[in-house]
Amino acid sequence: MTEEPVLRVTGLRREFGGVVAVDGVDFEIPRGGSLAIVGESGSGKSTVANMVVGLCAPTAGTITACGRDRSRPARSAKERRLRGREVQIVFQDPYASLDPRHCAEQTLDEVLRLHRADDGKQQRQARVAELGDLVGLDARQMRARPRALSGGQRQRIAIARALAAEPEVIILDESVAALDVLVQAQVLNLLADIRERTGVSYLLISHDLGVVRQITDETVVMRRGRIIERGPTADVLAHPRQPYTQVLRDSVPHAGWKPTRALRALTEGAQPS
């Protein structure tokens, strides 16, 4: 008897003016699991993220989160709020994902007002402080305007905002891609801690296989809108079955790596079977 997955996507398809961006995408994430969608630009991975979180409607297919369908746009304010408590997202650009006029406390308080209408001011303040602690921001940083903070600090606020509604799934849409390597390591450790403490599930959208290896259990590889390979992350990266996945892995710079032109030529020929 397996438990109901926290997120299930079946037959997902999206067209933009006749161009198919996403085609027949299926996957599910178990409660507390972590799944990566890997691909290059144009693979459709970000479109999938936007559909799951509700920023763009699928042309066909179904999305079920926490047992409730979210394939069509929300019709009521109540439904929008309910969905906000199921799936949240952290975007790539730490400089654009916060309102420049609001500090972290205001940002979090706004979310709490929406989702915990019964809480009093003091309860909300306590929760804001708790969230700040969780993502490692001090009181001064919580009251600073985003422009006074570094990219890593801003991304911590974005993570706290995503956590505020206590969602079951957080989509990490290239969330650490814009960060410098030392900051990236801090944020990746933070994400691992949060998952352990809260049991939240991750859907990671990334082109960075090192990041994928570090924080996900399972991986699907997308190319030209379709999933071409899937499996446990360790297996997919260690023993890729598809030539494209192999090229993707071999293109990652590592110690002793030599770039070659041949790799890319190989991807052109490597059609998914």
Binding site: D180, L182, Q214, S251, V252
Partner: protein, 332 residues
């Protein structure tokens, strides 16, 4: 070593931030021989791009410099008129975002041949022929068709190759590449890097390659310089940086990067954030975050010293050598 093409000696740069001078580079020294490739690696704000801009004479207005940037026997900082034009002809630049540097309303052909026709007086037909040949060199087969296209019709990777081909036309002696593949997909990155590497070796160009990725620099550069807070903390043979780093910051960069072949319980993330030169404290700028810092590290700036053929700014470099090697070995 042969006579250096480019020699930067104790370069200090102050730029104006809201009217206030702020130090962005502190005593940066590097040299680059003919046909040699040097990687310049650092996080944002470390001063790596500012170094390239100083070399290219592209510092923002109001910037003040001291030290020397020597090219062909002259100090680049004081070049004027014809000498500056000649220098600019010898130096080519490739930036992160090709789209920001290509006029979107002009054809690829016009963009590529502009310098040839205006500066070198080459006629239109010959210029077009040479442009098509240069495109072939960077792996774009149907060059003649591409010359008729507009930038928006080309992908980012293709456009970056066009920029590289364009720069080849004027046969530069020194190439400054500032994160040329950061905006590209990994497979495209591998190809563009391969092209840059081949061209450099075939044509004997000197390459100053700026990146945030230690591994990427190591793949194409003989030596790599690591920058932190506006100064070069370590310059070393690229191959040795991974196994035997001399500076704790280099070791931190190596171990913080998640690997493709294995996940670890926790990444070795050192606390704090990277600072710019003007925010750096007295003493070693890395000391507040350094796991190996002792009292003396906070006292004064460590001078650059030779250790095992590399240059390092760390007073404990000698005694830490074995331990840093262990740290990175544990990671690999």
């Amino acid at each position: 070593m042969t006579v250096p093409v480019l020699e930067v000696d104790r370069l200090v740069v102050d730029v104006l931030v809201e009217g206030e001078p702020r130090t962005v580079l502190h005593e940066v020294s590097l040299s680059l021989g003919e046909g040699e490739a040097l990687g310049l690696v650092g996080e944002s704000g470390s001063g790596k791009s500012m170094t390239a801009r100083a070399v290219a004479r592209l510092l923002p207005p109001g910037a003040r410099t001291s030290g020397t940037i020597r090219y062909g026997g002259h100090d680049v900082r004081t070049l004027k008129g014809g000498a500056l034009r000649d220098y600019r002809g010898d130096v080519a630049l490739v930036f992160q975002d090709p789209r920001a540097h290509v006029n979107p309303v002009r054809r690829i052909g016009d963009f590529m041949t502009e310098a040839l026709r205006t500066l070198h007086g080459v006629d239109k037909h010959t210029a077009a022929k040479r442009a098509a040949a240069a495109l072939a060199d960077v792996g774009i087969a149907d060059g003649e068709r591409r010359l008729e296209q507009y930038p928006h019709e080309l992908s980012g990777g293709l456009l970056q190759r066009v920029v590289i081909a364009t720069m080849l036309l004027t046969e530069p002696k020194l190439l400054l590449a500032d994160e040329p593949t950061t905006a590209l997909d990994v497979t495209t990155q591998a190809e563009v890097m391969a092209i840059l590497d081949e061209l450099r070796q075939e044509r004997g160009m000197a390459l100053l390659f700026i990146t945030h990725d230690l591994d990427l620099a190591g793949a194409v550069c003989d030596r790599t310089a690591v920058m932190y807070a506006g100064q070069i903390v370590e310059t070393r043979e690229s191959a040795k940086l991974h196994e035997d780093p001399l500076h704790p910051y280099t070791a931190a960069l190596v171990t913080a990067r998640p690997a493709v072949d294995r996940a670890v319980d926790r990444l070795a993330a050192i606390p704090g954030r990277s600072v710019s030169a003007f925010e750096a404290p007295d003493g070693c700028p890395f000391a507040p975050r350094c796991p190996h810092a002792v009292d003396a590290c906070h006292q004064e700036r460590p001078p650059a010293e030779y250790v095992d053929g590399g240059l390092v700014r760390c007073i404990r470099a000698d005694e830490l050598r074995g331990r840093l090697a262990e740290e990175v070995a544990f990671h690999d």
